[in-house]
């Protein structure tokens, strides 16, 4: 092996500030960081770095948003998923049903828990197709893990119905979906456990890694609290061998600072999505995200499907727009998935969609001028190719 890469950086962190219209808006978002610093100084003065008061308060506030009895702060969205599966007893030999159209962490969490991911194809709305779940259930199935992709809740009634018939718990991957609702109920409160990420580019974000698991089941909440902190009943007694995955107190301060702004963040993203919808609808080569009157989509990402996607993406980037693909290679076709024996053609909708999807910047600081520029660029691109 030659000298390895120092560190692989997600692409959003490489080029971002070179572009005018991009996905990373963090310097703007944290322009008022002196306020956060003052609050952190209080935490430091108390020496309260691990769990503690700020984390407790954050958890109460977060549970109120998710509409659950409990929220448990953990190290990351990945760990929220992983610890949830462990709290439900998922282990070696078990299967967990999920979607192949997701971020790696969804599958990583299942594999880390010792289980095997069983994929089910998606619908045109990018979410797992509930009609196909039942056929994937085997005696080894231990949980269903739907992903509310892009911030659009899955068809939960159908999923919960299948799950109930087979007595399976449902873990919502709500990493994209804070404040999303389904028939009036919040993402994170729809299944047995809900999992959220507060990665810096999420709608509610902290200055590093952070995650939350939500549940209304007291026993599961207690189990999650044990699992995230070495299985410790108190300083000296360990009930079960368990993990270290805690939301940093300092990050809880950042998160609480943003909770007051969350309504505005969500509304801005929804408004920007609506504006794109409106303007993009007239471009025949572009399909705007599917809408469902019964759900509130919070647009962690705004994903269109388009013709000549790769060329369009290059065109947008060349003109200063940070257009991205989330993600071009489905999970079942990743090199890491070879051991599961899937192949091309197994999930035709997913495999088609990944060649067409493009995410346009939709964050809360986007201006309508910027959105107009994005759409104008798309219009010009297709005008050029059709000429």
């Amino acid at each position: 092996m030659t000298e390895p890469d120092r560190t692989f950086l997600p692409r959003q962190y490489e080029a971002t500030s070179a572009l005018d219209i991009n996905h990373n808006y963090l310097p703007q978002q944290f322009a008022d960081r002196d306020l956060i610093l003052a609050k952190i100084a209080e935490v430091v003065a108390r020496g309260d770095f691990t769990l503690g008061r700020e984390v407790d308060r954050f958890e109460d506030e977060f549970a109120a948003i998710a509409g659950t009895r409990h929220a448990v702060g953990v190290g990351s969205g990945t760990d929220a998923l992983f610890l949830s599966l462990k709290a439900l007893g998922v282990d070696k030999g078990d299967e967990v049903i999920t979607t192949p159209y997701t971020f790696f962490a969804t599958v990583g969490a299942i594999v880390t828990a010792g289980a095997r991911p069983v994929f089910v194809d998606i619908r045109e709305d990018y979410n797992i197709d509930p009609a196909r779940i039942e056929a994937a259930i085997t005696p080894r199935t231990k949980a269903i893990l739907p992903v509310h992709w892009s911030g659009k809740p899955c068809d939960m009634d159908t999923i919960l119905d299948v799950a109930a018939r087979h007595r399976l718990p449902v873990v919502e991957d709500a990493c994209h979906a804070i404040q999303a609702t389904y028939k009036g109920r919040s993402a994170g409160s729809l299944g047995t456990i809900g999992c959220f990420s507060m990665h810096p580019l999420k709608n509610l974000n902290v200055w590093g890694d952070g995650g939350v698991a939500t549940t209304s089941n007291d026993g599961i909440a207690a189990r999650l609290r044990l699992l995230r902190n070495h299985g410790l009943l108190n300083r000296d007694e360990c009930a079960v061998f368990a993990y270290n995955s805690r939301l940093d107190t300092v990050q809880a301060v950042v998160a609480r600072h943003l909770l007051g702004k969350l309504d505005a963040i969500t509304s801005a993203r929804i408004a920007h999505a609506a504006y794109y919808d409106e303007r993009l609808r007239s471009i025949p080569q572009v399909i705007v995200p599917e809408r469902d009157p019964e759900v509130r989509q919070v647009f962690h990402i705004y994903v269109v499907r388009c013709q000549a996607r790769d060329e369009l993406q290059k065109h947008l980037i060349a003109h200063g727009v940070d257009a991205k693909v989330h993600y071009p290679i489905p999970m079942h076709l990743q090199p890491a998935a070879q051991e599961f024996g899937y192949c091309h053609g197994d999930f035709p909708v997913c495999e088609r969609v990944v060649g067409e999807v493009l995410s346009l910047p939709v964050h809360e600081f986007l201006t309508s001028d910027q959105q107009d520029r994005v759409v104008d660029l798309i219009e010009r691109f297709y005008a050029g190719t059709t000429r």
């Binding site: 092996m1 390895p4 890469d5 120092r6 560190t7 692989f8 950086l9 997600p10 692409r11 962190y13 500030s17 990373n24 963090l26 310097p27 944290f30 960081r33 956060i36 610093l37 100084a41 430091v44 003065a45 108390r46 020496g47 770095f49 691990t50 190290g75 990351s76 969205g77 990945t78 760990d79 790696f104 962490a105 599958v107 990583g108 880390t112 810096p200 902290v206 200055w207 590093g208 890694d209 070495h230 299985g231 410790l232 000296d236 007694e237 360990c238 009930a239 061998f241 368990a242 993990y243 270290n244 995955s245 805690r246 940093d248 107190t249 993600y327 290679i329 990743q334 090199p335 890491a336």
Partner: protein, 364 residues
């Protein structure tokens, strides 16, 4: 006088300007995951420990867990460690799917190399000696036995950053090492953090993948991995603190020597061997009247702790390993008699003198 066992606010007061500058810089950058700040701290830490590579991870447990996974240790394997450590030392072995095999401690609280060979079986894959209290384990003896049996040596250096063994820093003494940057550690950040050091480029490459979802690049996942990264913000704090670490370690050794001078003959005190330079994450004294001594000190306003009152093999979570009282007599005897006195660089000489006087008054 009140002498708290831990007083993190004192260090923060001293470093407030530097830490605030780091906070402002990272905040304004908008880069919070991996990136420049993390890489800078990683190169500084590697240079400090004298290794080719260092990797920032989410916490000290992961700093031990990820090297085990990267070495391919899993179900059916055994890893040898000490039962007198923080629970995470054994946990990481269980998390990797392997079985922790304990070896009793020597009188210095570290793994007794004389008992190591008897614990090795055909299933043993690695030895994970703990540098407990910041004192390096008997690495020459351990490494020689490990080499004879083809075992990896992973240093559990969670408490021992900066300590030296025959002139070399902990972190550079085995196949790989895991450090904790938990706030109360000698190099502590403002939250959870961990650090892995190694000279092995392959191991480094595998751990780099494992800590970041197994991602080869943004779109390709070569192996299902974990999410275990040291936050950029915490890396910036760690860089600030690393510059002060040697001075802090010197001060801790000075405090240790004050304690030794004042308590020799009253309670049993730890001492350095000529070839070791401990960093005194903890200063542990021993007394048959430990519990009464602790209450006495508490009445005097002095915070103490026991590291650790229940050995890992007797924890509820370890039941499935089938141990019982008497399996590790040295560790069990230690657990009944050890007491950790306050020790941190900001502790004042008057406070040290007060602790000494208070211990002496108990026995007077």
């Amino acid at each position: 006088m009140k002498v708290p066992f831990v007083s993190l606010d004192r260090q923060f007061r001293d470093l407030q300007d530097e830490l605030t500058a780091a906070f402002q810089r990272v905040g304004a950058s908008g880069f919070y995951i991996l990136g420049e700040e993390v890489e800078r701290f990683e190169s500084e830490a590697a240079a400090y420990c004298g290794t080719r590579f260092a990797l920032g991870v989410a916490n000290g447990s992961d700093a031990l867990f990820l090297p085990l996974k990267a070495l391919g240790i899993g179900p059916g394997d055994e890893v040898i460690t000490c039962p007198n450590s923080f629970i995470a030392s054994a946990w990481v072995i269980v998390a990797a799917g392997a079985r922790p095999v304990f070896v009793d401690a020597a009188h210095d609280y570290n793994l007794d190399p004389a008992r190591l060979e008897a614990a090795i079986t055909p299933r043993t894959r690695a030895v994970m000696p703990v540098h407990l209290t910041g004192r390096p384990a008997a690495m020459d003896e351990i490494s020689a036995i490990a080499a004879r049996h083809g075992l990896a040596v992973i240093e559990d250096a969670a408490q021992a950053i900066g300590a030296r063994y025959r002139g070399r820093r902990t972190g550079s003494l085995g196949t790989a090492a895991g450090f904790s940057l938990h706030p109360v550690k000698n190099l502590g950040v403002l939250g959870d953090g961990g650090l892995i050091t190694t000279d092995d480029p392959e191991l480094f490459g595998r751990i780099s993948l494992l800590r970041n979802h197994g991602l080869r690049d943004r779109d390709h996942c070569s192996v299902w991995g974990y999410n275990s990264r040291l936050d950029a913000l915490q890396s910036a704090f760690a860089s600030v603190k690393l510059k002060h670490l040697d001075a802090w370690s010197d001060r801790c050794r000075q405090i240790a020597s004050l304690y030794r001078g004042g308590l020799e003959g009253v309670v049993e005190v730890p001492r350095d061997q000529p070839h070791e330079e401990a960093v005194y994450h903890n200063f542990i004294v021993r007394s048959e009247q430990r519990d009464r001594l602790a209450s006495h000190l508490q009445e005097k306003g002095i915070g103490t702790r026991v590291h650790y009152p229940v050995p890992i093999h007797l924890q509820e979570c370890a039941r499935e390993l089938g141990h019982r009282e008497g399996d590790f007599p040295e560790v069990e005897a230690q657990a009944r008699t050890i007491l950790s006195l306050p020790i941190y660089p900001e502790l004042q000489d008057e406070e040290v003198a007060y602790v000494i006087e208070s211990v002496r008054s108990f026995f007077a």
